[in-house]
Every structure is written in C-alpha cells, then in structure tokens.
C-alpha cells in the first residue's frame, strides 16, 4: 500500500510504503500530501494499493493508457482532495498551491474506493469544485526566459514527474549535442522548451515538478497553457478517460522493450 505518512517537520507529509495491517496506522491524509505517488507504481511487481488525489488519479489514467501500469494490479483509494498547501516564500503563511487552484477534478477519475470525507469536507470539496469551474486560468504574463535562467539543471522536475518514465531521458545530457549534462546558461531555455513539448497533452497538473524544483519555477503554468492549446486543436484532455487513445500528434515516451 502506497500512501502518505507524517513528515519530519511541521507542515509536511511524505510517501510511505505499508506492507502489513499493523503498519497501516502510519498512514495520514491531509493537505500536506503533495508528493505524486503514481510514480512508484511503475515497475511494481505485486498487487499494489495506492492513495490517489484527483491529479494522481489522472496520472494513473495516463499510465494505464501508456501500458506502464496494469489496472488489474492496482487498488485505488481516492479521497476528496482539498488541495495541497505549500509554505509561501514571501510570508511565512501557508497557501494553496497554484496548480491546485487550476485543478479540474478534486477526486480521482478512477477509483476502487472513493472517500468523500465527513460532511464538512464534502461541502468544502464541492465548493472548491464550483470555484474551479468559475475558471482560474493559468497565470499570464510570466517572463519564461527569465524564469528559465533560475533553473539549476538538477532534473528534479523530470525525476518527480509520474509521467516521465523514458528509460533514457533525452534531456539528461547523454545526448550532449542537444543539451549538455552541465548547466550551460544558453541551453536552459532549450531544456525547458523541449520538456514542455514532451509534456504537451500529457501533463495532468499534479505539481510534483513544482514541489521538487529548488528554484520554484512555476512549471505547471507553462504545461497547462500548452494543454489548453492541445485541447483547442485536437479536442483532447489527458487524464480523464482510460479508453481514449492519445492523439498521434502528441509525443510519446521512449521505453525499452523488455
């Protein structure tokens, strides 16, 4: 069972792997459960249970479509999510993550067990869904080339993304004619532009990349903008229906055949 447990500092929860009923008391569910758990499903050998927020459920839908996860070997527990809180860097208060404000569905589109919470939580979740439909679009006017200059080329965005499962990543520097392994300032926009194209019509807005980024680059704002274009052009939204096939116009990850 992959879920969340209390973290080591106030305001943090972290992934935890429970393999016995006694251990299940470690599991928690709160607004600090930011990590994207579907990442850990890839390559899992046994039958696995997983706690999936709305965005995590969308990631699982994509992974099933991509045949990286077998639907029959996972049990999805889907709680109604109120969004993930992050410490604001400017004040010391906690704020709702930007990508949560844009979320299209606070509960996973696929689930074996859905938990709607007590009535207060359910109300909050419904209110939240209404607010979201009122449409908080992705931020406009971000100076992306400036944002990219803060990038540390740590590749945490790629490592934390549940949908980045290419056996050999194109952007890790092995293809040195494309981007270097080192942090060459001229290549920082190239790295991010290529990544954004790889995420086009695939990103489900879970925000794992933003949570991992040490430079706090608002990556999901960029990827969701491109997704808006893909939806307009091809009428396709990722993460909703397991039975749709992604349009052939969109990029596909490269996985070694075993």
């Amino acid at each position: 069972m992959i879920g969340y447990e209390k973290g080591s500092s106030p305001g943090r929860a972290r992934p935890c792997f429970v393999s016995s009923p006694q251990d299940a008391t470690r599991l928690v569910w709160n607004q600090y459960c930011a990590a994207s758990l579907p990442k850990y499903l890839i390559g899992a050998k046994d039958k696995v249970g997983i706690v999936a927020k709305g965005c995590d459920g969308r990631a699982i839908v994509e992974l099933i479509k991509d045949k990286q996860v077998d639907r029959d070997r996972i049990v999805i527990i889907a709680p109604a999510c109120l969004g993930v809180k992050r410490a604001s860097q400017t004040s010391r208060k906690e704020i709702l993550a930007g990508y949560c404000e844009r979320c299209s569905n606070r509960i996973s589109p696929i689930a074996d067990i859905a938990i709607l919470g007590n009535s207060n939580e359910k109300d909050a979740a419904e209110r939240f869904a209404r607010d979201v439909k009122a449409g908080k679009p992705s931020k406009r006017g971000i100076l992306w080339m400036e944002e990219f200059q803060r990038c540390t080329k740590c590749l945490a965005c790629i490592k934390s993304c549940p949908l980045c499962y290419c056996t050999e990543c194109e952007l890790d520097g092995s293809l040195s004619s494309l981007v270097s392994k080192l942090r060459m300032p001229t290549e920082l926009p190239t790295f991010h532009l290529i990544r954004a194209m790889h995420m086009a019509g695939r990103c489900v807005g879970c925000g794992a990349c933003e949570a991992a980024c040490p430079a706090d680059i608002p990556l999901t704002d960029l990827y969701s903008r491109i997704n808006e274009e893909v939806e307009k052009m091809l009428g396709y939204v990722p993460g909703i229906d397991v039975n749709t096939t992604p349009p052939v116009e969109l990029p596909r990850p490269k996985v070694e055949k075993k």
């Binding site: 080591s8 740590c154 590749l155 934390s160 949570a211 040490p214």
Partner: protein, 337 residues
C-alpha cells in the same frame, strides 16, 4: 584584535566603496528565495534572510567552470587556461556555509591541490553573519558549525541594536579591517554584552536532541541494515540534495568541440544519478537506488571523517526542507543514537 562595531549605514558605504574596486557578492532576492549574486552598491545589500537556496559554495566551486580552451593549428595544440578573476568580498555567509568551506578546503587542498578551487578561495574574503532566526530544519548546533560563527569566517558579524559586532578571525580579516578602518570603530562594553546575550539566545533557540559524537563508528555498524532499503523506497533520485548541499563537491567534465577549437569545463554532478558510477564495460559499484542513497549518508557521515577528519554535514537543513520525498538526514543521524 579587539572586537569592532560597524553600523548598518557604514556597512552600506563600505560596500559602495568595495563594489567600485572589486566584486562584492551578497544574498539577492531571486524568485521566491535568495541567491548569492554580485551587487553593484550598498543599497543592494540585504541581510534579512534565513539562507540562500543554493549555497555560496558556488563562489568557490561554480556550478559551471571553464577549465581551459584549446585550438589545433598546423598540427600544434595551443591551450589557454581560464584567468581566474576579481577579488571577491562575500558578505552574508551563514555559519553553516562558512564551516562548509572548511570541509571543502580539506578535500580541495592537502596533498593534491585543486588549482581552480584554490584560486577562487584565495581571492575571496568571507564576511560571515550570525543567524538570528534559525529554521525548524536547521541543526548546525549538532555539529558545532553555527549558529553564531563559522570556521571559515575571515570576519564574523553579529547584529545587535546599534550595528554589527565585528570580530576579525584571520590575518586576511584583520588586514581588511585595517585597510578600511574608517568604517569601523571599537565595540563598546554595552555592545559586547548585547553580543553575548544574542549569541546565547540563538544557541538556546536550537533543539539539541541529536548527537554527533561517535557518528562514524555508529555508521559502520549499520552498513547492512535493511533500513537503507526502506528509506530509499521513497527517494526519487532527483539529486536536489547534492545541488543545494554546501559540502557536496562532485563534478563532471565536459568538452565542447567546434571544428579545431574546444573548451573543457567542469560542473556539479550528483552521486544520486543512476549513471554516476557506471563504468566502461558495464560495471557499476552502486547499481541500485538503496546503494546510492546509502552512499550519500556514508560519504557525509563516515568516509569524510575517516579520510579528511571532518564530518561533511554542517546542519544547514537545505536537503531536509527541499527533498521532495522528505528524506531527512537528521533521522539517519538519530537512528543509531
């Protein structure tokens, strides 16, 4: 040398003057965090921060550093080494990061001197500033690397009401104060008392549950513990820990070739990358994630003390606050306590 005091405005004027003659680097707000960057004048100096996201080791060991360029002409190879740079006054280094410089000095110095690091180290003056507001993730007190003074400070500054109580710690520091004596005055008795009170307050504000005594020996007993498998399950091998760690120094070397010209550079690398220890022929001494994560902690807490006589964690807490999976070195230290 007795302690001095420099007022806030004198410090700004000093920076104004320095910035005209040399490079002054200080913490600058960038995005939602802080970054050590060159400042143009005293107005750019802001010491109201906890710590930078990327540590100031980037001044001594840049994330990207040119080693040399070369050109092949008529069968001959000509190389040109990088020329180093300006004198640097580095202001606003927290005690943990300053103490980290001492760790890096041991690795980059000693029997085999890294010429690029040495050159950067030589030309940099470290003005350390005491912490006043440690984060819950800070634990420098465990290793004695803070929170008031760092071991590589050339000059240590501690804020009191009327300014910064200034203690020169090295010959370089003393010479600096002598050269800019008009900005400093002797600290008054009251200021010294305030300094003592402030040091005491900051020290007491930090929890002291962890013990670093005997840590290398404790680690040697734990090498085959199944704990490492368990801990590494949630690690995503992103390597952020290495990039923001003030004592990490591993680097990779790349070459850019364009016709008959080339440039060789080095830059930061991370042992958490699955390719880090791959060798020609396919051998990999750390093929799995538990191997690599375990290595990080053993390097910091056992191999470094054994080889260089210094524990390589300074308790800055950056990895604790930024690890996406909340892998916490404090839990590792506490595990076999």
């Amino acid at each position: 040398m007795t302690p001095f005091c420099i007022t806030e405005s004198s410090l700004k004027h000093l920076v104004d003057q320095l910035a005209k003659e040399q490079t002054v680097m200080a913490p600058v707000k960038e995005g939602s965090g802080f970054s050590f960057k060159r400042i143009a004048n005293g107005e750019g100096l802001c010491l109201d921060f906890t710590n930078s996201t990327v540590p100031p080791k980037s001044v001594l060991l840049p994330q990207l550093e040119e080693l040399f360029t070369y050109e092949v002409k008529s069968g001959k190879v000509r190389t040109a080494g990088s020329t180093g740079g300006d004198t640097v006054t580095l202001i606003g280094v927290r005690p943990c990061d300053s103490s980290a410089f001492s760790v890096l000095d041991r690795v980059m110095g000693g029997e085999y001197i890294d010429p690029y690091y040495s050159r950067n180290r030589e030309r940099t003056l470290v003005l350390g500033v005491s912490c006043s507001r440690p984060e819950p993730t800070c634990f420098c007190n465990v290793f004695g690397t803070g929170p008031v003074e760092g071991s590589s400070d050339d000059i240590s500054l501690t804020r009191v009401d009327s300014g910064y109580v200034t203690r020169p710690k090295t010959k370089k520091g003393r010479e600096f104060i002598e050269k800019h004596t008009e900005y400093f005055r002797e600290a008054t008795q009251k200021e010294l008392e305030l300094f003592e009170l402030e040091s005491s307050r900051v020290n007491k504000s930090m929890e002291a549950k962890l013990k670093s005594e005997g840590l290398p020996e404790r680690m040697s007993k734990a090498f085959d513990d199944p704990y490492w498998q368990e801990l590494s399950r949630r690690c995503i091998e992103c390597g952020v820990c290495s990039f923001i760690c003030p004592t990490c120094y591993c680097f990779d070397v790349v070459e850019e070739v364009n016709g008959n010209q080339g440039r060789r550079s080095r830059g930061w690398d991370t042992c958490q990358s699955c390719k880090f220890s791959r060798m020609a022929g396919g051998l990999d001494p750390r093929p799995t994630k538990p191997d690599r994560l375990k290595h990080r902690f053993y390097h910091k807490l056992q191999y470094m003390p054994m080889t260089f006589g210094a524990i390589s964690c300074v308790g800055c807490g950056r990895c604790v606050s930024r690890c996406p999976s909340n892998v916490d070195i404090r839990e590792v230290i506490a595990k076999w306590q």
